[in-house]
């Protein structure tokens, strides 16, 4: 997955404007960035990914560091583009009928695919977190960034990142506990966590 020891050469070639080097960087980092953007609920993750790499091209002459630092730097740019997309979507008039249709689909149409249901369940639980908590959790869990790298990506201190991480986990625990205490049970939670199924009596 990682470029490894060839990374300085690839980065130097990208600085010179070599298309092959940029293709290699895009193939290495693009899928992870797109995964992060989708997990964060970006409105148009593919466009957001394109904007992110254009920003990387514009600011590459300011970057200094190794491969891990470059990866964290690209994710920081992608998060900035993500925040911009959130602001743009907040300024847009919302389509209320679309929200109703989605809610109706959730209640009355069972998910045909188990993976789709699991994804929607995870998305619902993640929506209970604040954006910063969600970012920290995804960066730490999905992308295996360290505390320092996560702090540099979201632009906060390491202590703040630890606090956000702990609060996110505690909130997840409360949400899972509340879902298990519900008599009717939440089908999406039951599908997500097998231990919370009514038969187990969690």
């Amino acid at each position: 997955m990682a470029i490894g020891t060839r990374f300085p050469e690839v980065l130097a070639a990208a600085r010179r404007g070599a298309d092959g080097a940029w293709a290699e960087l895009f193939r290495d980092l693009g899928p992870g960035v797109l995964r992060f953007l989708k997990a964060q609920g970006a409105a148009d993750p593919e466009d957001c990914l394109g904007d992110c790499f254009l920003e990387v091209v514009r600011n590459l002459h300011r970057f200094e560091g190794g491969e891990d630092a470059f990866r964290a730097w690209v994710f920081a740019i992608s998060r900035a583009r993500l925040v911009d997309s959130w602001r743009r979507s907040e300024r847009r008039p919302k389509n209320s009928s679309g929200g109703l249709e989605e809610a109706e689909r959730h209640h009355h149409q069972p998910a045909a695919d188990g993976a789709m249901m699991q994804r929607e369940s995870v998305a619902r639980l993640l929506e209970s977190l604040t954006p910063d908590q969600r970012s920290v959790l995804l960066l730490r869990v999905l992308h295996q960034f360290s505390i320092q790298e996560t702090a540099s990506i979201i632009g906060k201190g390491e202590g703040a990142v630890k606090l956000l991480h702990h609060r996110a986990i505690r909130r997840l625990r409360r949400s899972l506990l509340a879902a298990s205490d519900d008599e009717e049970g939440e089908p999406w939670v039951a599908g997500l966590v097998p231990s919370l199924s009514p038969t187990d009596g969690a």
Binding site: W22, L54, Q118, A123, H166
Partner: protein, 228 residues
């Protein structure tokens, strides 16, 4: 229920704490996050993004080159302006200086090219004053003294070595100013009649030309007048 960093790390690794079964659910959820958002291949839109990246790369490289050229051009333009301005200011100052010097009657180029000797600037005044005082005091009209002889030669150039024989200037009284003018006129006419002495006016310094009194001839007594 507090969490320390080791417990969080265990949760992230998928290790379930034994004391609280809910933590096991949290750990299962964190595992499911990874499976809910799998890595998406970007090959479907890779070509479009790479084309945009290549275009942006060319734009960035051209923009990075342009400010350097502009900086050099600005530097040249600025230095050129400073140089032209300084030359213009120097020419204006020089013209103004020459104009002022000409208005004062000073030839600045002559001053620059032939500076006068320092000793000759005092001597002509001394000779004229000595001549006037001696003639006024003594009434001596025997003006063919030996000191004048070198200057009487036409075409000879007055040198400082001939003049100090007259000695220092005599003391003047304030009332003798009018007599001095009269004496100088009479002396001038007498000199014109006797020996032409235009040499003193050829003194090198311009201010020496303003001391026209020749030291040689003493005027005649007042009763004799010009015709005598």
């Amino acid at each position: 229920m507090g969490l320390d960093e080791s417990e969080v790390s265990r949760l992230l690794r998928g290790d379930v704490p034994n004391d609280d079964p809910v933590w096991g659910e949290v750990s299962s959820f964190l595992d499911s996050v990874g499976s809910a958002y799998p890595a998406v291949p970007t090959s479907a839109f890779e070509g479009r993004h790479l084309a945009a990246i290549a275009h942006e790369t060319r734009l960035v490289h051209s923009e990075l080159r342009r400010p350097r050229q502009g900086a050099v051009k600005r530097l040249f333009t600025g230095s050129h302006r400073v140089l032209a301005g300084s030359v213009g200011a120097f020419l204006i100052a020089l013209t103004a200086g020459v104009g002022v010097a000409s208005a004062l009657g000073i030839n600045p180029l002559g001053q620059l090219l032939s500076p006068p000797p320092a000793a000759s600037s005092v001597v002509p005044q001394a000779t004229s004053a000595k001549a006037d005082s001696s003639s006024a005091a003594n009434g001596d009209n025997s003006d063919e003294s030996g000191t004048v002889a070198p200057e009487a030669v036409p075409g000879s150039v007055p040198t400082p070595t001939t003049l100090p024989t007259l000695g220092p200037t005599a003391t003047k009284t304030p009332g003798s100013v009018g007599d001095e003018h009269k004496n100088s006129r009479a002396t001038e006419k007498a000199n014109n009649a006797a020996t032409p002495t235009p040499h003193i006016t050829k003194a090198p310094t311009p201010h020496k030309t303003k001391t026209p009194a020749p030291p040689k001839k003493t005027p005649a007594p007042p009763g004799k007048g010009k015709n005598g």
